[in-house]
């Protein structure tokens, strides 16, 4: 299972001649490839890294705010049309991205969003899946707490931000991790939304770079390793939440 990662790492430590020798460990390990990826003037990886980070963080922040707000409203308020609204939102999970990218692209062109961060981000600013998740969790927040705050005369938005949100931090953490990972790895839409290399996200950049690198496999493997790095760190830190998150979504869906 892990061999591909091992082989990637070893290949990234070899130079252009060692890469063609079939040896498990590099005879003279070198960090030149990493130096090239991070510091060469021809390498755009630092820019792509930055783009991916901006996109993943902004979308995740937006998803956290809106999804928990929607989940809270749907779980704790009574109003006409509640059920229909919930069903409408959940039904969008059935629409595959493959179908939506073409109209999204037409939209992005019409509004001049092509090659902008907003262009990459706008389709993912709210996630129907997250609404489903947060609604489940919001139901567990005690009504008394919310009512007490209302009696105290606190505003509704304030109650949501200062009283409700702190109570659902585990769910927020799960949603944040999933959304960050999903956005970091996203390929199809960023591939379409951006045509200028300096706006590429890391996966699009890596695909493009690898397509042009020809036989420089040591550089391709270094690029692959670099694009995985943040996720491996995220995974090692949040292992429990990730596994719990996968299990939760699976069993409740």
């Amino acid at each position: 299972m892990l061999f591909p990662f091992f082989w990637m790492l070893m290949s990234s430590l070899k130079d252009a001649t060692q890469i063609y020798q079939m040896r498990l460990l590099p005879s003279r390990p070198t960090l030149d490839n990493y130096r090239y990826i991070f510091t060469s003037r021809n390498s755009q990886f630092p820019q792509w890294f930055l783009n991916s980070t901006i996109v993943a963080i902004c979308t995740t922040a937006s998803v956290l705010f809106f999804d928990s707000l929607i989940g809270y409203t749907l779980a704790k308020f009574r109003f006409p049309g509640k059920k229909i609204i919930f069903l409408l939102i959940i039904s969008t999970l059935m629409i595959p991205t493959e179908m939506l990218v073409i109209p999204w692209y037409a939209m992005a062109r019409a509004f001049k969003w092509v090659n902008t961060y907003w262009g990459i981000m706008f389709p993912g600013m709210i996630s129907a899946f997250g609404v489903f998740l947060m609604r489940q969790f919001m139901a567990t927040v005690p009504d008394d707490l919310i009512d007490a705050a209302r009696v105290d005369g606190q505003g509704e938005l304030r109650i949501f931000l200062t009283i409700v949100l702190p109570l659902v931090t585990p769910a927020l953490a799960t949603l944040a991790i999933f959304n960050f990972v999903g956005n970091w790895n996203a390929f199809l839409w960023p591939l379409i939304a951006v045509s200028k290399p300096h706006m590429f996200t890391l996966p699009v950049g890596l695909a493009n770079f690898s397509g042009e690198a020809g036989s420089d496999w040591q550089l391709i493997m270094t690029g692959a390793a670099v694009s995985m790095l943040p996720l491996i760190i995220v995974f090692l830190v949040f292992q429990k939440q990730i596994v719990r998150g996968i299990a939760m979504t699976g069993l409740k869906g």
């Binding site: 892990l2 059935m94 595959p96 790895n185 591939l191 995974f235 299990a247 699976g250 069993l251 869906g253």
Partner: protein, 295 residues
């Protein structure tokens, strides 16, 4: 204003932006897509004409699209069951491991959370012909002939499929493990006391209780494989779905029609065909499961 009306007003205010979002970025595009599939829409074209079902006829008569559909069917029909069977076995084995679960977890979840693009290129490198590819080097080392893998029209699709099985394994195994943990220990205990063998416990208790999870995963994985795109894009020469279209999936066909050929109308109708297939397969699976779960 009554208190209830006030609360409702707050709720609508909270939902206003999200509703606009879902209408503008999900529903409207879908309707737009349906409408556009009936026109000769192209990015390079200035005027728009209604062409009825001509796009659907053209797409369904296109041998490349039919091959892409056949390939997509192969990915789904072989890929989804393969992931389910392998991950079920892995989960059953891991459940018995007394220690080091965390380490194993890292091992099987890692492929699932790393970028598919990166993973695809790593495998593409390993699949290279001799003397470059490490898999071929291993084959030769044990006395087997080298294989063409991604360069062969017959082996390329199974190779990509195998990589995707490896990727999806983490997700399914995690869910199976969670499912196994929800099985009450006293049921298994009681069966053991009554003299049930390990195999009987597995066949008569554990597997039937895992049926809902299995069915859920079958639907999810079926959809995953029907939508396969990134792997094919990154593991075929020039992202063309080759050799000879042998790996091209429906999603890649749609992408090429829309963004390489700019034939948006054709791409729209092709994507609706794919959507219809996903929908029908999903509903059929759910129906089937409802019946099986009844007893």
């Amino acid at each position: 204003m009554t208190l209830a009306a006030k609360r409702a007003a707050t709720a609508y205010a909270f939902l206003a932006v999200p509703l606009v979002f879902f209408i503008c970025v999900r529903f409207a595009p879908m309707l737009y897509m349906m409408a556009m599939s009936l026109t000769d829409w192209g990015l390079l074209r200035k005027t728009l004409h209604f062409v009825g079902l001509a796009n659907y006829a053209a797409v369904l008569a296109d041998p490349v699209f039919l091959q892409a559909l056949a390939n997509t069917a192969k990915y789904a029909v072989f890929g989804a069951p393969a992931v389910i069977v392998v991950s079920l076995c892995v989960a059953l084995l891991l459940d018995r491991v007394p220690r080091g679960k965390g380490l194993f977890r890292l091992v099987y979840v890692l492929p699932y959370i790393t970028p598919v693009v990166a993973v695809s290129w790593v495998w593409r490198w390993m699949f290279q012909s001799p003397p470059l590819g490490v898999i071929n080097a291993m084959l030769v080392a044990v006395g087997l002939p080298a294989a063409a893998f991604l360069n062969s029209p017959t082996q390329a699709l199974p190779s990509i499929l195998a990589v995707n099985v490896w990727v999806e394994l983490g997700y399914c195994t995690t869910i199976f493990l969670a499912g196994i943990q929800t099985i009450p220990a006293d049921i298994v205990e009681a069966a053991r006391i009554d003299g049930a063998s390990g195999r009987q416990v597995l066949g008569k208790i554990i597997l039937p209780l895992l049926l809902p999870v299995t069915l859920f995963l079958t639907v999810i994985e079926g959809i995953q494989f029907l939508r396969i795109f990134t792997q094919v894009y990154n593991m075929s020469m020039q992202a063309m779905g080759g050799p000879l279209n042998s790996t091209k999936s429906a999603a890649l066909y749609i992408y090429q029609k829309a963004f390489t050929n700019f034939e948006m109308g054709l791409a729209a109708s092709a994507s609706l065909v794919l959507f219809a297939i996903i929908l029908v397969v999903t509903i059929a699976q759910m129906r089937l499961f409802d019946r099986k779960l009844d007893y």
